[in-house]
């Protein structure tokens, strides 16, 4: 019989902690889901993410006060090791939950040297950031998870709930209940209009791949790929308190069997590698002799004596070589240079309309964490993940697709939830003056222009006062040759703010007869309000 062990309690505390943070993460997803006024701490997790903070500050060469809390994560790591990974990170928690249920077998077929992969990715992220490019932050675990939830899981959830409710609705007995359910969730938890996101299949595939890799090794992503894990691993090499195997060890191997990240070197006298350990405490709880404990690695006293708790922790065989690091650095630099010399970097797709206040492309790209929170909060789901419209460098940054959703004149939510200020937090009055783009009428498609059919929807919808669309009354011949009076719309360029509601609402099927195109530089308008 196994002796009861205080670490089993601590392991439970850790599991509760993980569950709490996971649920908090999910709650925050919903708290800022298609809302005009977002929950003020919706970006809480990102504020504690040192990878995003370091990357964005490097790239923008600016002090971003909203991301300063991430120092706390670094502080905890220096004290206690990668607790972020083992106790907090929602992606890590998910990967742990879907890991094999039985006693985890040691990694099969994955050579330990793959662990250097995450460091090389980190070097790539940071070297590109140093040149002002945050493209590789698409691999930040929080951004990756949020992106998948935003563009794949939440729309799918809404679709399924709506479909199920719709299928049950014709049953008269259930209507009362379903009406109540609808009123509870619709408009608050779930949007009224089904959101659609560009490229959701690609984003879903990448996430499924990460989940599938978990079959090769428990927490594969965390061990071999995660750049945030790599950054924290650097700090946990100097962590002051670490699990270490003591004298009573019976060499039973249980600890290394339960270790999810394979951080216990059985061959090296059961040494627990601090850079890999995520402080999950499973080994301490599993040790029948209670031979593993948290030991302080106080610099002076322990430095050379005991490799187990040496400070700083000695290097590992799988640490990247200087050659590899230089290669990663070089690749990062070359990547930026090549991306910057692509035609799209020079002249982005005219349809690449940036969110309000993010019109200066270079500044925007050096701050955007690719976290997708703006797309999630956008009440019209008009903000969409960019594919290659701005070159590869702008992958999965937000842009407005007016045909899918317009920029609501009464809303400034994207700036409120942006963790790095890439979309500035503007008050409503300032945001209303920001010019996102310019509307252009396609006279070959526009009903009054092309077919003599009355329509003024674009003018009706135009939110600025005075309206940026002027109607000109003209007598024209319709398709039957009868004379009709129609009102032809004209865009007034100096008033249009490019919000795109005209394009969204244009009743012409397929491509709208009025389209918004990007502006190259930021400008604001003095519209009478």
């Amino acid at each position: 019989m196994r002796k009861s062990n205080k670490w089993q309690l601590w392991r439970q505390v850790r599991q509760i902690c993980q569950t709490f943070f996971f649920l908090l993460f999910i709650y925050l997803l919903f708290a800022a889901l298609q809302r005009r006024v977002a929950f003020p701490l919706a970006d809480l997790f990102f504020r504690f993410d040192p990878l995003g903070a370091l990357g964005a500050m490097l790239a923008s060469r600016e002090w971003l006060p909203r991301l300063v809390l991430s120092v706390a994560t670094v502080g905890v790591t220096v004290l206690l090791g990668r607790m972020w990974c083992g106790w907090v990170c929602p992606l890590g928690t998910l990967l742990e939950w879907i890991g094999p249920a039985q006693v985890r077998r040691r990694t099969q077929g994955v050579p330990p040297r793959w662990r250097s992969g995450k460091y090389l990715i980190l070097v790539g992220v940071l070297s590109m950031a140093a040149l002002g490019s945050l493209t590789l932050l698409i691999l930040d675990p929080l951004a990756l998870f949020t992106r998948t939830m935003t563009t794949v899981v939440l729309p799918a959830l809404n679709y399924v709930v709506t479909a199920v409710l719709g299928a049950l609705y014709p049953i008269p007995l259930l209507q009362g209940v379903l009406d109540t359910v609808e009123q509870l969730v619709r408009g608050s938890m779930l949007p009224v209009k089904q959101p659609f996101f560009v490229g959701n299949l690609l984003i879903a595939s990448i996430f499924v791949l990460i989940l599938a890799l978990n079959r090769l090794a428990d927490r594969f992503w965390c061990r071999y790929l995660c750049p945030l894990g790599a950054l924290l691993a650097l700090f946990s090499r100097i962590s002051l308190l670490r699990p270490a195997v003591g004298g009573g060890c019976a060499r039973c191997g249980r600890c290394s069997n339960v270790c999810r990240v394979d951080a216990i070197e059985v061959q090296e006298d059961y040494r627990i590698v601090p850079s890999e350990c995520v402080v999950c405490l499973d080994c301490l709880a599993a040790c029948p002799e209670q031979g593993i404990g948290l030991r302080a690695a106080i610099p002076v006293s322990t430095m050379r004596v005991n490799k187990q708790i040496a400070w700083p922790a000695p290097g590992e065989s799988y640490d990247p070589s200087r050659r590899q690091l230089l290669a990663a650095l070089g690749l990062g630099v070359a990547g930026v240079v090549v991306m910057r010399t692509s035609p799209r970097a020079h002249s982005p797709d005219p349809a690449l309309i940036r969110p309000p206040g993010a019109q200066d492309e270079e500044t925007f790209l050096s701050r955007c964490l690719r976290c997708t929170q703006c797309m999630k909060v956008c009440p019209t789901s008009g903000l969409q993940p960019t594919l290659l419209q701005g070159g590869l460098e702008a992958l999965w940054t937000p842009h407005l697709v007016p045909r899918l959703g317009y920029c609501n004149y009464g809303c400034n939510a994207c700036g409120q939830v942006c963790p790095s200020g890439a979309i500035p937090p503007l008050d409503l009055e300032s945001k209303r003056r920001i010019v996102l783009g310019h509307a252009v009428i396609d006279r070959d498609r526009c009903l009054p222009w092309a077919a003599g059919i009355p329509c003024i929807v674009c003018e009706e919808m135009c939110p600025v006062a005075p309206k940026a669309i002027r109607l000109e009354e003209v007598a024209v011949l319709d398709s039957r040759g009868t004379q009709v009076v129609v009102q032809r719309p004209h865009v007034l360029g100096d008033l249009c703010i490019g919000c795109g509601i005209c394009e969204y609402q244009c009743p012409v099927e397929g491509e709208a007869a009025i389209r918004v195109f990007r502006v190259q530089t930021s400008e604001t308008k003095n519209i009478l309000i």
């Binding site: 298609q34 609705y169 009406d179 408009g187 009224v192 009464g410 009706e460 006062a465 005075p466």
Partner: protein, 315 residues
């Protein structure tokens, strides 16, 4: 878990395809016929005005006075009735001072009057074209006013739209309409009087665009299509909010320069007459507005303001 045998696999297949087929069958788009006889619009008896116009600064008092003159809410709402009030909450951009959405005090007072008359429940709803229902309800002040009066705000559910035949329709004979709007015992239409470029004015009949799918497709022949819609959706009572009216840049407004303080509420069982009267506030006549004229042509009401008993009150 039990092993998946062929038998079990087939059972699962049958069960799941059954569910899928049933789901598909349920979501079929067969138009339904709603009996229009269900909601009758009572004409005025002696002592009740055909149309009332109340003036004053206190929107609540003005609304009460307008209702009293047409016979009180008891004429329209019976004990146990399920009531829907349809204000104009078209956008979530501006507070009520901008005259883009119906005055919240008018709506709140109507909710209260309905409940006083014994209504079982009073729901308030609209489908904004700019912004989400949740925020539009809040920004317009109507959510607070309704809840204070113990009414319910309903977010119009995508499940409740049905394709309906429009037997009297001259241009459109079918459209997707919110089911509850057709089925409620009492429907009170509470537009705000505003400028609109195509229709010229957005009044009660135009306000019905907020209860149908694809409102933008109505614009191709807006006047007749609105009249057709009015022949299907017959509000029991029309209350035009003209406390503030928007005279330009409608329906979205945004400039206080375009707002006129007219301090008036118009009430009638006849939507056409109420619209015709409201048009005069803009210096127009009912005949000038296509949907008013065509509705009258279809026999849905009268636009001849000289032929009806109009009571004007100062509240």
């Amino acid at each position: 878990m039990r092993r998946m045998t062929r038998r079990r696999f087939l059972k699962w297949m049958v069960a799941s395809s059954g569910i899928i087929l049933w789901t598909g069958a349920c979501s079929s788009n067969a138009p339904i016929q709603i009996s229009p006889a269900r909601r009758t619009v009572p004409g005025p008896t002696s002592g009740q005005a055909y149309l009332s116009v109340a003036r004053g600064e206190d929107a609540a008092a003005v609304t009460r006075a307008a209702l009293a003159a047409v016979g009180g809410m008891g004429r329209f709402v019976k004990a146990g009735d399920d009531v829907i009030i349809k204000p104009n909450i078209c956008i979530d951009y501006h507070p009520p001072e901008y005259a883009t959405t119906t005055n919240p005090l008018v709506v709140g007072t109507l909710v209260m009057l309905c409940l006083e008359a014994g209504a079982r429940r009073v729901r308030v709803m609209d489908m904004p074209f700019g912004g989400t229902p949740e925020t539009a309800y809040a920004v317009s002040g109507i959510a607070d006013a309704t809840r204070a009066a113990r009414g319910e705000m309903e977010v119009m559910s995508p499940l409740k739209f049905v394709i309906v035949n429009i037997p009297q329709g001259r241009d459109i004979t079918q459209w997707e309409v919110y089911k509850d709007i057709l089925e409620a015992d009492v429907l009170i239409n509470v537009p705000i009087a505003k400028h609109h470029s195509l229709a010229r004015l957005s009044l009660a009949c135009k306000n019905l665009l907020g209860v149908v799918r694809y409102p933008n497709r109505m614009h191709r022949n807006l006047g007749q299509r609105l009249a057709d819609l009015a022949s299907l959706i017959k509000p029991s009572l029309t209350v035009v909010d003209a406390m503030r009216i928007l005279v330009a840049n409608g329906p979205t407004g945004g400039s206080l320069n375009d707002v006129r303080q007219t301090n008036m509420v118009i009430a009638s069982h006849d939507m056409v007459a109420a619209d015709a009267f409201a048009a005069t506030l803009f210096g127009l006549r009912g005949e000038d507005i296509a949907y008013i004229k065509l509705s009258a042509d279809m026999g849905l009401g009268t636009l001849d303001l000289n032929a009806i008993n109009i009571e004007e009150i100062n509240a």
